[in-house]
């Protein structure tokens, strides 16, 4: 089973990268780990009471969870597991430990700043993934692929 790391900012558009995992690892059972950087507040109380699952539940909107579930149903023949983790470290050593702990060597990232990380305390772990993973596939996604009708104007046909 191939374990693949994919960054997420907990938006539905970030789940688009999951399609690229399917495309890039055909004929393989996948265990996908969605990861987001997360800064734990530095007070003793917050550090002692930090619960990864609780924070993940807070960060996942209803639409995000619904889309994730739909994706799993769509690709249940190839997706074995789909987990979400928060990386709360600061540097490459911590990230390498995170990868070792989760036994991940490959990942998929976007080339540009496709993901926005607008949720409080979250950050983009893509640069760490690029430096620490054995193999990363970069997808040049720049815009949301939900096209609107005005982009295609058929009236130009008559201008021939």
């Amino acid at each position: 089973m191939k374990r693949v790391l994919i960054p997420t900012d907990f938006t539905i558009k970030s789940l688009q990268l999951l399609d690229y995992a399917i495309l890039n690892y055909p004929k393989e059972q996948l265990a996908i780990v969605l990861v987001s950087g997360y800064r734990i507040k530095e007070s003793l109380w917050d550090m002692r009471n930090f619960s990864e699952q609780r924070e993940i539940n807070k960060l996942c909107s209803e639409e995000f969870t619904k889309s994730k579930r739909t994706f799993l149903r769509e690709h249940r023949d190839v997706i074995d597991r789909l987990n979400i983790h928060l990386f709360s470290g600061h540097n490459m050593f911590a990230f390498k430990n995170f990868l070792k702990q989760n036994d991940i060597k490959e990942g998929i990232i976007t080339e540009s700043q496709f993901l926005s990380y607008e949720q409080p305390n979250t950050f983009d772990p893509s640069h760490l993934m690029k430096s620490c993973l054995e193999k990363t596939i970069e997808i040049p996604l720049t815009t949301d692929k939900s096209y609107n009708r005005s982009q295609v104007s058929v009236s130009t046909i008559y201008n021939l």
Binding site: Q16, D19, Y20, I22, L23, N24, P26, K66, T70, R73, E74, H75, I139, P140, L141, T142, T143, K145, S146, Y147, N148, R149, S150, Q151, V152, S153, V154, S155, T156, I157, Y158, N159, L160
Partner: protein
């Protein structure tokens, strides 16, 4: 009325109303306090007068009078009247000052003390009985000149403060409204300066998260879309002209060659065959263009039916098996919902067939008939179709153009096609309030996801 003036006016009105309420509150309580204070003074004086009246001793009367004159001074228009009560505790009617209301006298008799105000004069009445001289009523009246003066002064100050603050508020309101709306004025100026020739110009981006920053971002996004649309329009003309010219040039070339000299029947036949081939290519192209143009009509012009998506797919597969017998499309219908209404869409059957068959044909064509899978799922409001192939794929940076008419991926130039299959599918899906999304990776494959809202009739 300009928005700036409107904001200022609302600001002045609200602040003015609030101030008026506060000032009325202050004035009301100041007046109450002054009146109470004056009644207290009248009561004290009435008590002293009653005590002086009731004493038998002349010396005591002199002392009381002395205290009154020296320490309490006389109040403006002070008037003191004492009525003796008859032994049965009633007041002889002949003695009553008929200017005083009866209720006032009654309250004095029942409560032993009463207050009353007429015009600027204040009255207090006191029932006194120390058992020596018999019961009597002392009624003391006076005008509160000092209190009225103080209240008038307070009123003037409040009026003055109100008008001065109104001037300040209007100046500040005007300034604040100008400041608040200045980014909008800046945006308006900038947007007005954008023409077709400088469509690349963008508003200065702001990192803030307020409504104005959002407006700026919205404008910039709109300009992005406009620019894309302009660029595409230009590209479209180029591509379309090119595509139409190719077969035309071939036809003209063939006819010219055929007419250049006397030829055999076989040669003429060959030339005509080539002309026919190119003409049929042109015909396909023009038909495609017409189909593309027709879908731009609004949905009122369509024949709308209730369609079962799974049924349409089976029909498309039957056609596809005839058109491309070697196709390897696998249908996954395991997740179909039990309720068939969740598979019905309201729309044009012909158009939806065209859209879905275009996508499936593309999947077969560009994957060289390797495996293609089609899955149908439903969620709480949509039918979800996932079509996956393992074909040549589309370069990811070209994905943003695939729904543009005549656009063809850089890696499929050798595959026959005109580049309007996907744009047409896109238009049709959009027309049915659906969404289409394509993810693709070169030489690995393509995933097309279509989302159509199902009917929600009960």
């Amino acid at each position: 009325m300009r928005l700036r003036n409107k904001i200022t006016a609302i600001f002045i009105l609200l602040t003015g109303l609030l101030q008026t309420a506060v000032f009325i509150f202050i004035y009301y309580f100041a007046q109450q306090y002054t009146e109470n204070e004056f009644y207290l003074r009248l009561r004290q004086r009435a008590t002293i007068a009653a005590q002086a009246y009731s004493t038998q001793d002349e010396v005591d009367i002199d002392i009381y009078e002395d205290i009154r004159i020296r320490h309490l001074q006389t109040l403006p228009d002070e008037n003191e009247v004492i009525y003796e009560l008859s032994p049965d505790g009633t007041l002889p009617l002949s003695e009553i000052d008929h200017n005083l209301p009866e209720s006032f006298i009654n309250v004095i008799l029942s409560e032993e003390y009463a207050e009353f105000k007429r015009g600027s004069s204040y009255y207090t009445g006191l029932l006194y009985d120390d058992g020596k001289k018999g019961a009597f009523i002392v009624i003391l009246s006076a005008r509160d000149v000092y209190g009225a003066g103080k209240l008038e002064n307070l009123r003037n100050i409040l009026f003055g403060a109100f008008f001065i603050s109104l001037i300040f508020i209007s100046v500040l309101g005007q300034y604040y409204a100008t400041q608040a709306l200045s980014p909008i004025a800046r945006i308006t100026r900038k947007v007005n300066s954008i023409r077709a020739e400088n469509l690349y110009t963008r508003l200065d981006s702001v990192n803030a998260k307020d409504e104005l920053a959002e407006l700026t971002r919205t404008f910039n996004n709109m300009l992005d879309r406009l620019q894309i649309s302009f660029d595409l329009q230009n590209n479209f003309i180029n591509h379309a002209s090119h595509e139409l010219r190719n077969p035309l040039t071939a036809i003209l070339g063939q006819t010219e060659i055929a007419q250049a000299k006397e030829r055999s029947v076989e040669e003429y036949r060959n030339a005509l065959k080539k002309v026919e081939l190119e003409a049929s290519r042109l015909d396909t192209l023009v038909n495609g263009l017409l189909k593309l143009a027709k879908t731009d009509f609004d949905s009122k012009g369509l024949v709308v039916d209730i369609i079962r998506v799974d049924q349409i797919i089976i029909e498309i597969m039957e056609d596809l098996d005839i058109a491309i017998p070697e196709n390897k499309v696998k249908l996954y219908f395991e997740d179909l919902p039990e309720d068939e209404r969740q598979l019905t869409v309201s729309g044009s059957e012909t158009l939806l067939k065209v859209a879905l068959s275009n996508i499936l044909e593309n999947a077969c064509k560009f994957s060289n008939n390797k495996g293609v899978t089609l899955k149908i799922l439903t969620d709480d409001s949509h039918i979800l179709l996932t079509i996956r192939d393992e074909g040549v794929g589309i370069p990811t940076d070209e994905l943003k153009n695939i729904f543009e008419p005549f656009y063809r991926g850089s890696n499929v130039r050798n595959v026959e096609g005109f580049g309007f299959g996907l744009p047409l599918a896109y238009r049709i899906i959009t027309l049915h309030n659906g969404e289409i999304r394509v993810s693709s990776q070169v030489n690995k494959g393509t995933i097309v996801k279509i989302k159509l809202p199902y009917m929600t009739i009960s």
